[in-house]
């Protein structure tokens, strides 16, 4: 190796090193190449994999079957994977190649609205009022989307957290399903004695159920992360009480010590293998793990120590973007699409809950007693991340899945420190990232 070639290689190598090292930054920052805006003669509808591939096939058929009136455009369908979905949407919107209408993350509409990319759905709401669908919405599901400027998106399904229990394990443990926090504690102790998990949750890679149950318990105690006027209010007495209760479950061994590392697959396996006796999970767990034997049952609503009853819900929504070939066409397509979604429940393609009363009354949906119980008992008490405020906003995206809540939930379910310290760290972390 002669000196000349050595110095040449050195520069080349350092360039390579810098390029490789910059990959995370670049992956995070580069946008897609501009290629023609949001239309191209059709309303582009981007949809996520909400269920099995059969769901997306059905959704595609619905989209392609759309026959607009003469003045409106047709629609095209595209699946966007959950993996890096926010990056996908951001890049597409920045390069004006994004959709005109889309489903997506629960708070995505609010984030893009803050950045001026969302078209308000007031026209759609007016049309729904005219065709009668507006009155078909379940109570309260539309309210979180209303802002001073208009409706930011339109809900189409609900992802709700409810308590589930395994009947056979409760019978074996000789306890009844809990109806209050003390009942959760006692049932948990009894389940532990028979080797079952008394409060199943998980906080492993990509699993946010522990985050959600922490907030769910706060709401269930009349607390919440936000004040009624939308300011951060983590350190209130109700939240502290709820957090202390979770610590008590940990100290009694009712929450599995390994839960902090459980992925969603691990957690589902616990339910499927009849290891989990009781715990919070999404509505539709029975279908998700393929156990419709009647042994896995939605538990009764529990009351907090002060008698409060509440649970957590994520209203998944369909949003429209300003980058559209025709706003009227976007509006018209969305109205059409909302009118067609009942077939997804008729075909049992979605595990989530519908937002329309008429769908909850369909025999295909109401035939499952767990669905009926969720709609009858849990839906009326469901609150969003915005509680104790009402309207959702972009800050809730920072709460959902952010570092602050993940660290809080992981501290709690591993019993690290104490409730007050964990809450304080949660508040500090949240304040550092929330835009006032």
């Amino acid at each position: 190796m002669n000196p000349t070639s050595t110095s040449f290689s050195r520069r080349g190598f350092l360039g390579l090193a810098a390029a490789v090292a910059a990959i995370p930054a670049l992956a995070a920052c580069t946008g897609g190449s501009p290629s023609g805006g949001g239309g191209g003669g059709a309303v582009k509808f981007w949809d996520m994999p909400w269920g099995t591939p059969a769901y997306n096939e059905a959704a595609k058929k619905v989209t392609e079957a759309y026959a607009p009136s003469s003045s409106n455009l047709k629609a095209s369908y595209q699946i966007i994977q959950w993996n890096n979905f926010y990056q996908t949407y951001s890049s597409a919107i920045a390069s004006k190649t994004g959709p005109a209408v889309s489903t997506g993350g629960g708070f995505q509409a609010f984030q893009f609205e803050q950045q001026g990319a969302i078209a308000y759905a007031d026209g759609v709401i007016d049309a729904l009022k005219k065709n009668g669908m507006y009155d078909d919405f379940l109570p309260g599901v539309l309210d979180p989307f209303k802002s001073d400027k208009g409706y930011i998106a339109v809900p189409w399904q609900l992802d709700m957290r409810v308590f589930w229990y395994r009947k056979s394990l409760f019978e074996k443990a000789g306890v009844a399903p809990p109806t209050d926090w003390n009942g959760i504690l006692e049932a948990g102790k009894a389940l532990k004695k028979i080797g079952a998990v008394g409060f199943a949750t998980g906080a492993g890679s990509g699993n946010f159920f522990a985050n959600h149950v922490a907030i769910q318990m706060m709401l269930n105690n009349g607390g919440g992360v936000w004040s009624p006027d939308g300011q951060i209010d983590v350190m209130n007495d109700r939240n502290l009480e709820a957090t202390e209760f979770l610590y008590e479950l940990v100290s009694n061994g009712i929450i599995d010590p390994g839960a902090v590392s459980y992925t969603n697959d691990n957690l589902q396996a616990q339910w499927k293998d009849k290891k989990a006796g009781y715990g919070s999970y999404a509505a539709g767990l029975d279908n998700s793990i393929g156990d419709t034997s009647g042994d896995l049952v939605v538990a009764p609503v529990v009351a907090g120590p002060h008698g409060d009853k509440a649970t957590l819900v994520f209203p998944n929504n369909i949003m429209m973007y300003k980058n559209t070939p025709s706003q009227e066409s976007s509006d018209a397509f969305l109205v059409y699409y909302l009118g067609q979604i009942k077939q997804f429940w008729q075909q049992n393609l979605l595990g989530s809950l519908p937002v329309f009363k008429s769908i909850t009354e369909l025999p295909e949906f109401a035939g499952n007693p767990n669905n009926v119980k969720v709609i009858k008992e849990w839906q009326p008490i469901a609150k969003t991340f915005a509680a104790r405020g009402a309207a959702l906003n972009a800050n809730h995206a920072v709460l959902d899945g952010g570092q602050a809540i993940s660290q809080f939930a992981q501290s709690v379910i591993t019993g690290t420190g104490d409730a007050k310290t964990a809450l304080k760290a949660f508040e500090t972390g949240l304040k550092a990232v929330v835009k006032s």
Partner: protein, 319 residues
């Protein structure tokens, strides 16, 4: 011994047997030579421009984002070096930097030791050596999503095979991914497992380039196997070793999937590396500027480390 030493020194300089070891004299002022150099540079120019564009544009764009407070869509307001100040004063960053350091040291040297050991083993006459070579490459070849899922299945819950095995032999039921210390150890071991085939290949190619007559000569001079390893094998493969260290350092520092898929950076940030920290900052906390600032700091660190290691390469080449 003197003859052998001279032979080694020549071999390290890449001098053919019987050669003088002196560089060839070249007439650098020849017009033909100058013309060739100009042609060479002109031919090189398009590639250089392309590389500058590919590497330069994203770097400039990232620099803009690191000095602004916007999002992925909107650049936002210019904030100077505020993002760098914020991340550098964050205890979470230093915790992530600490884990990155441990992860990198274990990843680089762990995989090198295992890889070199296996390369030496495969150099000996063992049955079905070819099959072993293929099998040993599998951890590197299998997609990380598959291998992390497999490891999670093996370790994830108390009912998983390995914790169950520990339990069966009376060692309790260790929570490999739930206990912060054990999770950090597991992630590092996983990295070594994923990376040793690369190091094995690098070491095998370096070992293959060492002339077997050098070992024969050393044997005749009475050198033991250990002396041959430390005095011949390691020095003669040093250049290749340093290059593999540089590459593996870059792989480890930038490794996102190995950590994120296995532990997500948890529990309680115990396995959060700088790249996971940067990802979370951008995509979970939506603080694009700060996340990109972290990536810039990583780049700077890697360049410094690469320069230091590169000097070692040059030193070993001169020796």
């Amino acid at each position: 011994m003197t003859v052998t030493t001279n032979g080694l020194a020549k071999a390290r300089r890449g001098v053919a047997p019987g050669g003088s070891g002196q560089p060839l004299k070249r007439n650098s002022t020849s017009p033909l030579k100058a013309q060739r150099t100009r042609t060479f540079l002109w031919l090189l120019l398009p590639s250089v421009l392309l590389l500058l564009l590919i590497n330069g544009y994203p770097l400039v764009y990232a620099a803009i984002q690191a000095t602004h407070n916007g999002s992925l869509i909107d650049t936002g307001e210019f904030v100077g070096l505020d993002n760098f100040t914020s991340v550098l004063t964050s205890p979470a960053l230093w915790k992530a930097a600490g884990f990155t350091l441990v992860f990198t040291i274990v990843g680089v040297f762990g995989s090198w030791i295992v890889g070199l050991g296996l390369a030496l083993l495969l150099k000996t006459r063992i049955p079905v050596r070819g099959l072993f070579k293929i099998l040993l490459l599998l951890p590197w070849v299998v997609p990380i999503v598959v291998s992390s899922t497999a490891w999670n299945w093996l370790l994830g819950t108390p009912q998983s095979p390995i914790p169950a095995l520990f339990n069966a032999v009376g060692l309790g039921s260790p929570l490999f991914l739930a206990n912060p210390t054990l999770a950090a150890v597991t992630v590092c071991v996983f990295k070594v497992w994923v990376s040793f085939p690369f190091m094995m290949m690098m070491s095998a190619s370096a070992l293959a380039s060492v002339d077997s007559t050098v070992y024969e000569a050393a044997s005749m001079d009475g050198a033991t196997k250990w002396q041959q390893f430390t005095q011949i094998t390691l020095p003669l493969s040093a250049r290749s070793t340093y290059i593999s260290w540089i590459l593996m350092t870059i792989f480890c520092v930038n490794d996102f999937p190995t950590i994120y898929l296995l532990t997500g950076g948890g529990p309680v940030d115990a396995t959060t590396s700088l790249v996971v920290f940067a990802y979370r900052t951008v995509f979970q906390n939506f603080q694009t500027g700060q996340g990109v600032a972290v990536a810039f700091l990583m780049t700077l660190t890697l360049v410094v480390v690469s320069v230091i290691l590169y000097r070692q390469i040059r030193k070993s080449s001169v020796e």
